[in-house]
């Protein structure tokens, strides 16, 4: 495992510059929260870390983004990168297959075929996502029959099953009720001992509750980054304090 380091990172959608000269370090085994008003580039930066921006046409990138020995921008082994950097999306998106096959999808993609190994990975991942006890007797039910909160935890389990170092989450609880949200926050705090976690959130309380560090973005720039307590109690920049006290955004 290693820190993720961005240096002079710029991203353009065609002529539009969505990220401007980002310099930041995402520390390993910590939960970093990205905050900032809509359209400031949080998702764009998140998607850069596992190269999901490759799907969008006319994206141009300059600068560097490195994780240990892996040059994220330049690698052509996307499958290897994405095995190390998993992603959970805003809307729960389980496949229309059984719960078991959802979780086993990633490991199978990376060539694991033995039933015993898959069984073990599925159980371990579902346990990490606090779903095992609820679902262990129904592993062959369709994943689409689960509740929204369960679906999102299933998506987290699915990502964990490939044993990534990093987990990226883009507003993972914004479509969920408070109880499901609490469960996800709890499980994130548990898994961060073994994973580097980066989460986008619009919920200041959430960021304050579970993150170790906070990065505040505004119009494509990283305005301020620091320990969560420091950002919320004594922000260095006026824009940061304006935002977290709700004066705009």
């Amino acid at each position: 495992m290693a820190d993720i380091v961005a240096t002079n990172f710029n991203l353009f959608y065609g002529d539009f510059q969505a990220l401007k000269d980002i310099n930041m370090t995402l520390k390993e085994r910590q939960l970093t929260a990205f905050i900032g008003p809509s359209g400031c580039g949080k998702s764009t930066f998140l998607r850069s870390i596992n190269r999901m921006n490759d799907l969008i046409e006319n994206v141009k990138i300059t600068g560097s983004l490195i994780m240990g020995d892996l040059n994220i921008i330049e690698t052509n082994k996307l499958s290897v990168l994405r095995k190390r950097v998993g992603m959970v999306f805003q809307k729960p998106n389980p496949f229309s297959m059984s719960i078991y096959n959802n979780v086993a999808y990633g490991p199978r993609t990376h060539g694991i075929r033995q039933r015993a190994v898959l069984d073990e990975l599925v159980e371990k991942s579902l346990r990490s996502a606090a779903l095992w006890d609820e679902l262990k007797d129904n592993l062959h039910k369709s994943a689409l029959s689960l509740s929204g909160g369960q679906q999102q935890r299933l998506c987290i389990a699915r990502s964990l099953a490939v044993e990534p170092d990093v987990l990226l989450l883009d507003e993972p609880t914004s479509a969920l009720d408070p109880v499901s949200t609490a469960k996800i926050e709890e499980l994130l705090e548990e898994i961060k001992t073994e994973h580097t976690i980066v989460m986008v959130t619009h919920n200041m309380q959430q960021a304050a509750r579970i993150s170790d560090r906070v990065a505040f973005f505004l119009s494509g720039e990283l305005i301020e980054m620091g320990d969560t307590y420091q950002i919320f109690s004594q922000p260095q920049k006026e824009k940061t304090s304006d935002y977290i006290t709700g004066r705009f955004g």
Binding site: F89, K91, P94, N101, C155
Partner: protein, 267 residues
Amino acid sequence: MIPIRKKLWIGFLYLLVILAVLLVIGVLGLIFFDIISKGIQGVNRVFIVNTIPILWNTLQLIFFTFLFSVPIALMAVLYLVEYAKAEWFVKLVRFASGILAGVPSIIYGLVGMGLFVRMFGLGLSLYAGALTVGLLILPMLIRAFEDAIRAVPSTYKSAALSLGASQLRALFTVVLPSARTSLLSAIMLALGRVVGETAALILTLGTANALIRSIWDSGRTLSLNMFVLAKESISLTEAYASAMVLLLMVFLINMIANLLTGDGRHG
């Protein structure tokens, strides 16, 4: 409160809708009743002995037609949806298949005869017939497959890619399986065209009264049989009995296909 005039108007529209539904059900019922009541009289030993090879011919035509057209349609659509970069090209293909879907089947028959039967020297055969009908249903398959695949949420694909799957693996293990029900209904719709086709087949498959034993053989399908029987006034009751067999066959194929795709519980 809804004003009385609006209420009357809504009531009137409602009545119209019910009438339309009754009309559709009525016409369908009439067709079924007509075919089955007349068809059942034509069923006897001779009919059964005559019909078994024709039924088998029909099934073979269906099989080979789909064997040619479904993979091509699927690959064309995957290319259009996933790989084609130029918007104008996608539009052009869509426009062309829209036009081609409306071309009368006799024209496909002529082209099939000129191309497959004569030029490629396949003769009047199952080969030429299946290729021609395959070509005929290609545009409608392409359109319906495209709709089916575009209806799959893009988030499924993103999820698969984010787990390290290649584009191709995401397509074949996630996107296509998610679209299977609509892909199948597209095929079932095309099935109607295949079993009902006569004009294009007369010119390519021929109407030999024989069992098709190889792809090079000519032979008649149920629809062709009905056409010949009715046209030459050989036996109208036998034509009706053939129609009944055709209806039952289409019904059965639909049922089996639905059972096979299931309701998506076990992926």
